[in-house]
């Protein structure tokens, strides 16, 4: 098996980015693995696992023309790891509150101290420019009971940060 690379591409959003990038990868015989692609603040961002014959440098060279033509910055890292290493979250944390410095650090700091492993974090700013509201959803694995995390997060509520926890029971059928 060839090794995996982590490809990072970002730039102003426009239609056709995914099609052109993946076409170039296909033409160079590269395979795709797991990927996260989304629009952040008017930019399109791609984090994608790819594997194939090409060395890191050759891969970068192969993609540079399409990246340049789309105005994307490109970064290639060799990575350890591979497919089929999914972990299943058991807790979902939802946070919202007036946007202010430190809100993410406060919440994730408490979670980290409790040994909570974040698998997936999405954050966004809603509301309006003069009244921004910070929203965050975190899926992860807690090794302590939900009630313990709940107690650890309680002090944050006094500061006007809305945090709620819910168990994630994955249905297998």
């Amino acid at each position: 098996m060839n090794h995996w690379y982590m490809l990072t591409l970002t730039g102003a959003d426009r239609p056709g980015i995914v099609a052109k990038v993946t076409q170039a990868l296909y033409e160079h015989g590269m395979n795709l693995g797991e990927a996260s692609m989304l629009r952040l603040g008017g930019n399109f961002t791609i984090m994608m696992m790819v594997s194939g014959e090409l060395e890191a440098e050759a891969l970068e060279e192969a993609l540079q023309p399409v990246a340049r033509s789309l105005g994307l910055s490109l970064h290639v890292d060799e990575m350890e790891g591979g497919l089929h290493r999914h972990l299943v979250p058991n807790i979902m944390v939802r946070v919202s509150g007036a946007d202010r410095a430190g809100i993410v650090a406060r919440v994730t700091g408490v979670l980290a101290d409790a040994g909570f492993n974040i698998l997936d974090l999405e954050s966004d700013v809603a509301g309006s420019p003069d009244k921004p509201v910070y929203l965050m959803q975190i899926a992860g694995i807690a090794s302590v009971p939900l009630e313990t995390l709940e107690a650890a997060l309680a002090p944050l509520r006094k500061e006007g940060i809305e945090v709620n926890l819910s168990p994630v029971e994955t249905l297998v059928g």
Binding site: H84, H86, V88, P89, N90, D120, E122, D124, L135, Q137, P167, V168, E169, T170, L171, V172, G173
Partner: protein
Amino acid sequence: MEPLPILTIPDERLKQVSEPVERFDDELRRFVEQLEITRRHGPAAVGIAAPQVGRFQRICIVDCSITRKPVPNHGHLVLINPEITHWEGYEVGREGCLSVPDYTGNVIRATQIRLRAFDEQGEEHEYEMEGFEARAVQHEIDHLDGILFIDRVVSRRTDLFRRKVYK
């Protein structure tokens, strides 16, 4: 009795629509027993449907009495020719499937259902279900219609947007 082999994607047979059961006989009951053994054999499945083992009849088993955190449930249920007669509400929840190894995703399902089904003796029952158990039944009945949860997975952001609009 040995567990039956499970069909996994991309097996086209998983898309087949299953036929109603017409004869409630010993052969059917033996199959139900074998299906149950197969459900228990895998990793903690709360449900299984006949087409997952290559029998295209409207038969499934649901048992939500085994969850990590207890949920409202009717115990071990054999559901034959099941029909959902009423839906209400919806929520997003995480699902996986014996036929889709190493993948889980978020799916929107009704939170409350009324269900009519026969058991393996041919007796008709009606159930009112909510939450996790209602989700399990919807997941299994989908199998009977050739639908997998991956056909219904919603994007990461859908959850939030839906909540905003309807809650």
